[in-house]
Symmetry: D2
Subunit: 138 residues, 4 copies
């Protein structure tokens, strides 16, 4: 399998899951066992206090895990989220949101990844952590 490029991932997501692309989610980096995604800051979606909402953070974590599955399975919608646990660590304010997924395990039926989320420019101040499993289909 050839690792898809971020441009290929973005084109694929824009085609098969257009609302995610419209919501400002972008693939930034694809590497063996790793994917990085970005959410383009959109003031219209903020929670009271100017906070980037929990659902926005979840959506980016879920998406970057899908990108991570592409590093294992190639560019095809052959995996669905099985479960995802997200822990919110700090208020998230200010800029774009970045999520980096690292592969913990690619098994026959399940892909498990660890996700760290931060506001662009502050990678040492994580705003959330997620761990999720994708079930391989077919």
């Amino acid at each position: 399998m050839t690792l898809p490029t971020p441009e290929q991932v973005n084109a694929f997501v824009a085609e098969v899951y257009p609302s995610a692309y419209a919501d400002g989610h972008r693939c930034e980096e694809m590497a063996p066992g790793r994917a990085v995604a970005r959410w383009l800051h959109d003031p219209a979606t903020l929670r009271p206090g100017g906070l980037i909402s929990g659902p926005t953070q979840f959506a980016l974590a879920d998406l970057v895990l899908w990108h991570l599955s592409f590093t294992v399975l190639g560019l095809a919608p052959m995996a669905v989220t099985s479960d995802l646990h997200i822990t919110f660590l700090r208020p998230a304010t200010g800029g774009d949101l970045i999520a980096r997924a690292d592969l913990l395990r690619a098994g026959k039926t399940r892909i498990v990844g660890d996700v760290k989320l931060w506001v662009d420019g502050a990678p040492d101040r994580l705003v959330a952590h997620a761990i999720g499993s994708y079930a391989r289909l077919g």
Copy 2:
């Protein structure tokens, strides 16, 4: 504390967190230790295969837990999600999404609730289960 009505909850959410309201999330029922919410089916947000996306399900689970916190704290944005674990059980297709939150524990600093999600009309076929904690502020 007087239990807020669903109408009061909807008016409050529309004011302080308008994007949630705009995304079609509505409070349906408020009772001691229980809240029920609905997501109005929107084909534009579906995932490949016509599936109601994971982030849409998470957003409704998170929102109904916020509503649940109102049954304890009253109608004020004084609680934030601390962590949420969601397990996807079946493909979710077809109609509105319903989420029912039941209070497991209201402690001094934390409110814990259990959420069951199903497609309207099929309460015996859960599409997801979530458990989440809200941290009380102030």
Copy 3:
């Protein structure tokens, strides 16, 4: 498949996983989509303050989910825990610990159950809640 009785479950666990039996874990009830287990109170294992420890609660939750898998698969060690999320709700003190598992989903590769834990005699004061997945083998 015939539903195994609690006596059959206890005999099976004592044979294939003797340390669980030796630690005082017992099957109490087996029903379609449900299993109930008990931990016999053992003062030697308590945490500071006389609390039933988190690991003891986890062990009982994990075991009752295994029993729950027997209601689907029969009496065979053909499932392993895939992930388990436990939320501690109240200090657990005083007596035996009871855990009731309810089946949320039995899929082709995964069995998901919800577990409620309480101290014997106080079913309305949950001390913990767990949700876990078992992966079906073979």
Copy 4:
């Protein structure tokens, strides 16, 4: 606060929570924002197939998070597990179990840590991952 040494942690745990010490759990390393613990391999506790059981892995993950809380709060039983999510990645067989906890966030009421578990000698083949929160008391 002075960081406690592993010897001090072991002496403290042996005194206030003797069953954990008796079960073969040991503190190996304490550093700012990090703790490492070991479980001494005990064939009597294995699951069918010679596997290190889920509860044994959970107990070590929970304990190393307690050690991690000592790096923040000092050597006192002032924190209790609030929730813990464990994902099993591979069968764990063969030797001692090692768990390393890294601090994700130390807030006013909550300490969150990430735990990686492996069998001694194989740090690149994680057998489990956990994330847990400790609630600060008093």
